[in-house]
């Protein structure tokens, strides 16, 4: 299994928390972590997930019209 980790960046903590909830419902392994400094100067959190789940995660968010900023490989 590919262990590479990615993060989804959101505009706000509320969106990140909604993202966490939607992923957990779909059994996508996620964890909320502080946004790595090199990715943003903002003080918020982002959602870490295994990169292999990217397509599934994108479709879950699209189905629920959940907006996010970007997906970045760590």
């Amino acid at each position: 299994m590919n262990e590479d980790q990615c993060v989804v960046l959101f505009h706000s903590t509320s969106l990140a928390l909604r993202g966490e909830k939607l992923c957990r419902e779909e059994k996508i392994l996620v964890k909320l972590i502080p946004v790595p400094r090199r990715l943003s100067s903002d003080c918020g959190v982002c959602l870490r997930f295994p990169c292999v789940e990217e397509e599934r995660l994108r479709s879950v968010f699209a189905a629920k019209a959940l907006e996010f900023d970007d997906i970045v490989r760590l």
Partner: protein
């Protein structure tokens, strides 16, 4: 002590409410969504979960369109002052609280046209009367779902359909009904729903807000307060997405934790069970008080009433009666105009006001009987005096 002032603030609260607040104070305490650390995320999660519980209660698909404010007044002001501009037309009922009438009168002085559809002497807004008032282009219709004066409920689903057909946004003041009456955003044709946490939702004071339905053009609703949100901090302009756009400044997280406990209690207990108990209390109040000679009831129609009733007595003024109930019988209620001069005018009790008994889910039938006996005794004594 018998507490009959639930229309002002519900009391007591379910244990889950106090437990949630204690847990937040002891175990979390941090600032939600401002930092990346564990406790900040936990605080953010407490707020998110309450948002979700409220969205679920009103069958609202997107919890991020639940916007927290300090109370229903905050939610109503956000909707009214956020949307209405000089030249706009807004239509309301004759049963409104000052939380609607005061912002409307302020908007009126800025050039918004305010039209009031008179209500029946029982407090009912006739949908046909609303339809006639909407022949002219109207931007918003705002209606009090349940009266805080006599508990009269409006046919919001029908009123909402009429408002939407006329191209107006439909704003519902659910201060008295959120938590004790089944409300669904889409089914009931609601665009904007203002709710408070401290009444039938069983939360603490200082919680409430506005639910903005999916078809509400939020880009047109200006925030009332601008400031830090913990998001998009690199920009000095307000974020444009909900809920952040409308929730600047550190929120009342401990209060929202308690509100979450209250909403979960309601979801577990079931709205049907709450309604069944409160309908029984309402019937007992109306029948009991109505049977006392010299008492005038301002009752709502039986099929559309909350467990809130207003009455006056020929023998004693509302303030005298209220004081005697408190001092001699340990019964706590509310007298006067209940911040709703317009509703009292519709019911025929302005400017003297009424005495109001408002029961809640934790009120018992025995307490209602004891309160009715106390009124009977005081009115009889007052008659002899």
């Amino acid at each position: 002590m018998i507490y009959l002032d639930n229309a002002a603030t519900s009391f007591p609260k379910p244990a889950a409410v106090c437990d949630a607040m204690t847990a937040f104070a002891l175990e979390i305490g941090a600032n939600p969504g401002r930092s990346g650390h564990r406790l900040s995320v936990d605080a953010g999660r407490v707020i998110y979960e309450t948002r979700e519980a409220i969205a679920s209660l009103f069958n609202m698909p997107d919890p991020l369109r639940v916007l927290f404010a300090s109370n229903a007044t905050g939610g109503l002001n956000q909707a009214l002052l956020g949307f209405l501009r000089p030249g706009d037309r807004v239509v309301t009922s004759g049963m409104e609280h000052n939380s609607v009438m005061r912002p409307l009168r302020a908007l009126e002085s800025d050039g918004v046209r305010v039209c009031v559809v008179p209500s029946s002497p029982e407090g009912v807004l006739d949908p046909d009367d609303l339809r006639r008032m909407l022949r002219e282009k109207t931007d918003m219709v705002v209606v009090n779902h349940g009266s805080n004066v006599n508990g009269c409920m409006q046919m919001i689903r029908e009123l909402g359909a009429i408002a939407r057909r006329a191209g107006a946004l439909f704003l519902v003041d659910a201060a008295q009904t959120a938590g004790c009456v089944d409300i669904e955003m889409e089914r009931d044709n609601i665009d904007l729903l203002a709710f408070t946490g401290h009444k039938a939702l069983f939360g603490p004071q200082g919680t409430g807000g506005l639910v903005a339905g999916e078809r509400v053009p939020l880009e047109r609703m200006r925030p009332l307060i601008y400031g830090g949100t913990g998001s998009r901090s690199e920009f000095e302009t307000q974020p444009e997405f909900p809920p952040d756009r409308y929730e600047s400044g550190t929120p009342n997280t401990i209060g929202i934790a308690g509100l979450g406990g209250g909403v979960r209690f309601i979801l577990e207990t079931g709205m049907a069970e709450i309604r069944r108990h409160e309908d029984e209390l309402a019937a007992a109040l109306v029948d009991g008080l109505g049977s006392i000679d010299g008492v005038r009831l301002y009752a709502a129609p039986p099929e559309r009433r909350l467990s809130t009733v207003s009455f006056t007595s020929e023998a004693l003024s509302p303030s005298e009666l209220g004081l005697c109930l408190d001092e001699e019988f340990d019964i706590l209620c509310r007298v006067g105009l209940h911040c709703s001069p317009a509703a009292h005018a519709s019911l025929g009790s302005f400017p003297e006001g009424t005495i109001r008994f408002s029961a809640g889910y934790f009120t018992t039938s025995d307490e209602i009987s004891a309160a009715i006996d106390a009124v009977r005794a005081l009115v009889r004594k007052g008659d002899r005096a």
